[in-house]
Symmetry: C2
């Protein structure tokens, strides 16, 4: 079942008050999309996040990603900077899958690592508190967010 | 420093390539906003989430919230259903703070519990995998998401 049909069905359930949470079939569909994604891009100025994310993707037997060199500073004016970065990358590439990381909301709100598909739909995410709170190296924070995002939708190492 | 000034400063830093993550002052500002919030609403059809969320708010010495009875089924047509519910509640009340819970993205993507301020800006969040993955009772999932959201911005019990 393609996402389009799944989304249509889920909304019909909501509309009729008979939606009782996500189903294993829906989760499997997201997994399959991510497994089949060939063109995975990570918008980034430098390569630090990309190296860590590719390590995670390999550990879960997924295709690795490429860096998309774009300056995403402007995304920080958006209400959800991480998502704005993801959309910038989607709109400037032929990606099947974008993995973007940035601020969740206002300054202080911590970080969000988000996976979107080729239409900009949100598939999963991982989050961290601000560095000022968790004090972890950025590599460790990115690693944990990516594992959280994949395990949330049932991937296992 | 009000959020407006903090957001302006943070963007100027991003623009000038001298933003190095959230600061403790910014996090403190979010904490103060949440501590001072008097009119806290939770959009919900029934009271289950509200009871659990008020338990969490009490444990962190915050003001408790009231249920805002609105039918949020339509939010499931949105790209970020949890955020759509939050905006519905904000636009139909005089809230200082809205706490809303719903789907993160497409069906299967799990849940997002989000705190927004009186302008709709995102302050913090907590997330869970779908029930089909975590198998926890809803009360436990909501409890954990709310604690995650508060601890992420430095609140302690």
């Amino acid at each position: 079942m393609a996402f389009e049909k799944m989304i249509k069905n889920a909304f019909e359930e909501s509309e009729n008050n008979c939606r009782f949470g996500d189903t294993l079939e829906e989760i499997k569909e997201i997994q399959d999309y991510i497994k089949n994604a060939q063109k995975i891009y990570i918008p980034n100025k430098n390569g630090i996040k990309v190296k860590v994310l590719n390590q995670v993707l390999s550990e879960y037997n997924l295709h690795t990603a490429e860096i998309l060199h774009i300056n995403t500073n402007i995304a920080d004016t958006s209400r959800i900077p991480a998502l704005a970065k993801a959309y910038m990358a989607l709109d400037q590439s032929d990606a099947d899958l974008i993995i973007a990381r940035g601020r969740l909301g206002i300054p202080g709100s911590g970080s969000l690592l988000i996976f979107i598909d080729n239409k900009g739909r949100i598939l999963t995410c991982g989050t961290s508190p601000s560095h000022a709170i968790h004090q972890k190296p950025i590599e460790e924070a990115v690693y944990n967010e990516a594992c959280e995002a994949l395990e949330k939708i049932g991937f296992e190492k």
